[in-house]
């Protein structure tokens, strides 16, 4: 038997305090919450409202403990989730104190008074903290004999979040999350006393009819609830009035709700926790590489939840990462290889052996003719990218490989080769998520954090809230992300970003000063490739100020693809193609004869497409590429039409499929293992979630295709591919810094404007098909322009080029005059496809009628 020492001689370091919990002495850092100190001691105090990443609220009162200070007991039990530790505090939890235990049981009983007994139909049942704690500590029978308070249910507060107010225990986790973490405080506490409830501006309208404690007003209640449900399933927002709960992060409120008050429309009644097999996974959508948990049942993914990775996404993910996964189970998914019948011209299902032979024969013929170009697309894993890179060099003997299925430039190539590739990642001193939190300044250039990398946005906001990180955006308008990061906007015309960066010392000397301080960070998005001179200007800026630079692309695979060398100027590991030593090293590693690798860089994406049109290239090997993402979709279609032989490795029928001679099906991320490299350069490995589906990863397909062409890639599995890549140590030599002239943005004439554009997070992206609930929370598709520019146009504006036009409602925004902003790929606003124009182009604007 151990006896707690009467007097301890525990040393208390500076900044720490000593207290007693249940008779045990413990040293805790000053400012730590009592509930966490107790947790470290192994005593779990029950709680609902407490969340380590949210500010303390003390809302649910479940964590009451008895506290004594300086020998004087506090008159009433105290909430341990709001009380910070103090020296000499004596705490008794429910383990040793009857008072605390009774208080906790009383609170549990009160919380359950109005909680309905509908656990059997509640989605949270089986993983519900309230259920668990009621089973563990609650009474076995209820003493409450009166009618419970009822509300119509469920109430859709957005197309993907359903609110059931009866079940709510008013812990305010959702409202605190929305207010503090996401910065979208559309959801809040309404009413007072027994009528207090969670709601949005919209639910407030129906409040009088809805809140009643007696008989449910069944007729109207039933109707309004089901009417709401219908609109939810139809994927529209709830009603017209007020501001809907449209947050890119609303799914997190479902996950942190300690009861079943907030449930997901997509997961509604789909399964129970005990049905699900959970596997850790990594998000495939943006370049943040958020940790996720994928839950599947009988070979079908049921839901995705945020994983806990304090270094990357903490415990949050965006709604796209959470809800957009059904593309992999889409009906139209390609599951068997397709080969085009020479006679009928139709794609026909065939066996793998036949399809691989057809692909290998066609590629070999094209290679021996004018050559084959490789377009892997930006959504590949590191291993798949490496396989593409090696396949291009070894099997196709070319450097014509470019994964950038978006606007790109030669300047960007230089920038990636000199500043991004092989910077060592977090271990090598690269910018990390944690650095964003502590930086004195974060300058976002041509980068829209909330739309392009939501986890980065959350970190910037957290830093701005907690550590006064100054967030400065060089963009066109004060987007929601600017406001929610408490940011400063340095507005410039689209295409004028390079000038703005160069002139930062003149027009914003305070920003320039801050950039010189320790830890300053510059974040640049993929849009930089569309602004001539911007990468060069950024290079000059960071050389001058000493700030650190991070490139944050939009797609998950881009950074890994750069490392794997799917670029015309780079070999794996960041080795420049033009460097003879680097080539020799790679040739040795791959077992090639010296001098096999061409000494000249290959063609970039646009170069390849032009070469096909001019008959300087015969074939194409294409991965996940949508022609409408390319800078010139018309040129791309012309080129694909003209190509002698096209092999497409695809998951779903795409814009490439009509031109493909052979289509080889590949595995979605759930069905393969691999590694994404996130924008930090951090490797995010993931294991296979759905095993045994028979779907093959790109690296496996390319390996087998390579064997058919008498070469061995050694990328049979992703482990083998990664091993092969890792045996090639990172290059030591770096490419020269980019040095390209910047251009003044063109001056728009009369009836013209400069086009500013970026993609919204929730739009018509190809990985967002079959998700009506998610699509319902997309931001409104509008054309934004200044009041002066919008003058005389009316409600709608038609933006046109010689290719086509887009008509959208006008929203007056703080843009510079003569600039119009449109979302890049949203319903009704697919700019590349219809206008063939991108950021910085000159477009015609006219009043449009709708």
């Amino acid at each position: 038997m151990t006896v707690a020492p009467e007097k301890s001689d525990v040393d208390v370091p500076e900044g720490y305090v000593k207290l007693t919990i249940d008779g045990e002495e413990i040293v805790a850092p000053k400012g730590e919450l009592l509930i966490r100190t107790a947790e470290r001691l192994g005593t779990v105090i029950p709680r609902f409202c407490d969340h380590p990443l949210l500010d303390p609220a003390g809302a649910c009162r479940q964590c009451l403990v008895e506290v004594e200070m300086n020998g004087r007991p506090m008159p009433k039990p105290q909430a341990s989730c709001t009380l910070t530790v103090a020296d000499g505090m004596v705490v008794k939890t429910q383990v040793t104190s009857e008072v605390a235990d009774k208080a906790q049981q009383g609170v549990m009983e009160l919380l359950l008074i109005n909680h309905p007994l509908d656990c059997p139909i509640c989605d949270k049942g089986g993983e519900c903290p309230l259920q668990n704690q009621a089973m563990a500590h609650g009474r076995t029978d209820s003493r409450f004999v009166d009618k419970k308070r009822t509300f119509p249910k469920p109430l859709p507060i957005s197309s993907q979040v359903l609110l059931d107010r009866e079940r709510c225990v008013l812990c305010q986790r959702c409202t605190r999350f929305s207010d503090q973490i996401a910065g979208d405080p559309f959801i809040d506490l309404l009413e007072r006393g027994a009528h207090q409830q969670i709601g949005t501006a919209e639910t407030a309208d129906v409040l009088d009819a809805a809140s009643h404690t007696s008989e449910p007003d069944s007729a109207s209640a039933g109707k309004s609830a089901s009417a709401g449900l219908d609109s939810a399933s139809a994927g529209k927002s709830a009603s017209a009035g007020g501001q809907p709960f449209q947050s890119y992060f609303s799914g997190n409120t479902i996950q942190i709700c300690p009861v079943g008050a907030l449930t997901s429309a997509q997961y509604r009644f789909r399964s129970r926790p005990f049905d699900l097999v959970s596997t850790p996974s990594v998000c495939e959508h943006c370049s943040s590489g958020c940790a996720e948990r994928t839950d599947f049942r009988r070979g079908k993914v049921m839901r995705k939840l945020a994983g806990d990775d304090p270094e990357v996404n903490e415990e949050w993910i965006c709604d796209k990462g959470r809800f957009a996964f059904r593309y992999a189970a889409a009906e139209q998914r390609i599951r068997r290889p397709l080969v085009r019948n020479v006679e009928t011209g139709e794609l026909e299902e065939t066996s793998w052996t036949e399809a691989l032979r057809a692909a290998a024969d066609g590629l070999a013929k094209a290679r021996d003719g004018k050559g084959v170009g490789v377009l892997p697309g930006g959504r590949v894993t590191l291993e798949d990218a490496y396989a593409y890179s090696k396949f291009a060099r070894v099997a196709l003997r070319t450097h014509d490989v470019d994964h950038r299925a978006r606007a790109h430039s030669a300047e960007e190539l230089d920038f990636l080769a000199s500043r991004v590739v092989s910077d060592g990642g977090p271990a090598g001193g690269g910018v990390t998520f944690s650095d964003l939190e502590k930086a004195p300044i974060a300058l976002c250039v041509a980068f829209e954090p909330e739309e392009e990398a939501p986890a980065v946005f959350l970190r910037l906001r957290k830093g701005a809230r907690a550590n006064d990180v100054k967030v400065v955006h060089i963009g066109q308008w004060a987007s929601p992300a600017v406001e929610k990061t408490f940011g400063e906007l340095l507005a410039c015309a689209p295409g004028g970003e390079a000038g703005a960066v160069d002139g930062i010392a003149q027009h914003a000397p305070d920003v320039d000063e801050a950039l010189r301080s320790e830890g300053a960070v510059v974040l640049v998005g993929e849009r930089a490739a569309e602004v001539p001179g911007l990468p060069t200007a950024l290079h000059r800026l960071v050389e001058r100020t000493g700030a650190r630079l991070a490139w944050i692309p939009r797609r998950a695979g881009e950074r890994g693809a750069v490392e794997a060398g799917t670029l015309p100027t780079l070999l794996p590991g960041g080795r420049p193609v033009t460097d003879a030593d680097a080539r020799a090293e790679v040739e040795r590693h791959w077992g090639l004869d010296p001098g096999t690798l061409p000494a000249d860089p290959g063609r970039d994406m646009t170069g390849m497409l032009n070469a096909i049109v001019t008959r300087d290239l015969d074939g194409l090997l294409v991965g996940g590429v949508d022609l409408d993402d390319l800078p010139d979709p018309a040129l791309a279609r012309k080129a694909f039409d003209a190509a002698e032989f096209v092999v497409s490795l695809e998951l779903l029928p795409s814009t490439v499929t009509p031109y493909a001679d052979v289509v080889l099906p590949i595995a979605p991320v759930d069905e393969k293992s691999g590694t994404f490299v996130n924008w930090e350069g951090r490797r995010r490995p993931f294991a296979v979630t759905l095993d045994g589906t028979g779907a093959l990863a790109d690296c496996r397909v390319l390996d087998t295709l390579g064997v058919e062409m008498d070469t061995d890639l050694f990328t049979q599995t992703s482990d083998a591919a990664l091993g092969d890549l890792d045996r090639l140590a990172a290059a030591t030599a770096r490419a020269a810094a980019p040095d390209h002239p910047s251009a003044e943005p063109p001056a728009p004439g009369d009836g013209q404007a400069l086009l500013a554009t970026w993609r919204q997070l929730i739009d018509d992206g190809s990985l967002q098909i079959d998700e009506p609930a998610l699509a319902g929370t997309a931001r409104r598709v509008v054309a934004r322009m200044s009041r002066a520019t919008a003058d005389g146009l009316g409600d709608h504006v038609t933006v046109s080029t010689d290719r086509g036009s887009v008509t959208l409602p006008v929203e007056v925004t703080d843009l510079p005059d003569g600039v119009v902003w449109l979302p890049g790929n949203s319903p009704g606003s697919k700019l590349r496809a219809t206008l063939g124009a991108g950021h910085g182009a000159v477009v015609d604007i006219a009043g449009g009628d709708r």
């Binding site: 059997p120 049942g125 039933g222 449900l229 399933s233 009644f269 399964s271």
Partner: protein, 188 residues
């Protein structure tokens, strides 16, 4: 050993011919189980024909043999299968696995799942021994209507749960029948 002993034995046989036989003529005539025998499962209905199953999966959770598969579904105004928000969209019991313990019946919160005394569950292939919702649902009694249809007996599920027995009386369900049919006749 007496002189008649060899025929005595025939006497026993002959005598038995006039006694009542204990043999059950199965399967020609059939052998009804005791009224409360736990045979196969049945998914019961409310008096208007709506299903009692809410797809909560508690039966599947309770099942020690993992014989039950359930998937819930969302009732809409257009297609309503049960009172309330949720119904059992897919319901399967694998009688190759079921051990007839009845824990599922105890777990059922709506008394949707009960067991009737039908016990002829043998078959010559595995596929047919996975009984689906169509096989398990109780037959439509007089006054019942094949779902989907709107709630006929009340405004919400509370009315169904609280006033179930009274509602059954007013629907023309025969006097001696309960809605939870558990006799073999009901099956036929």
């Amino acid at each position: 050993m007496g002189i008649f002993d060899p025929v005595k034995g025939f006497g026993v046989t002959f005598g038995m011919m006039f006694k009542k036989v204990a043999t059950e003529e199965y399967p020609e005539i059939g052998a009804p189980a005791a009224p409360r025998y736990h045979g196969r499962h049945q998914l019961n209905r409310h008096p208007d024909g709506l299903e009692k199953c809410v797809g909560c999966e508690l039966c599947a959770w309770a099942c020690p043999a993992d014989a039950i598969f359930v998937e819930g579904g969302d009732n809409t105004e257009e297609a309503r299968y049960s009172p309330g928000e949720r119904y059992g969209a897919d319901y399967q019991i694998n009688y190759l696995r079921c051990i007839g313990c009845g824990l599922c019946v105890e777990a059922c919160p709506t008394r949707s799942l009960t067991m009737i005394n039908f016990y002829e569950l043998a078959d010559d292939n595995r596929q047919d021994l996975i009984w689906t919702k169509e096989d398990l649902l109780a037959p439509l009694l007089p006054g019942m209507e094949q779902p989907p249809h709107p709630m006929r007996l009340g405004e919400n599920e509370q009315d169904y749960y609280v006033n179930g027995p009274e509602l059954a009386r007013d629907r023309g369900v025969p006097e001696h029948e309960t809605v939870e049919t558990d006799t073999e006749e009901a099956v036929r």
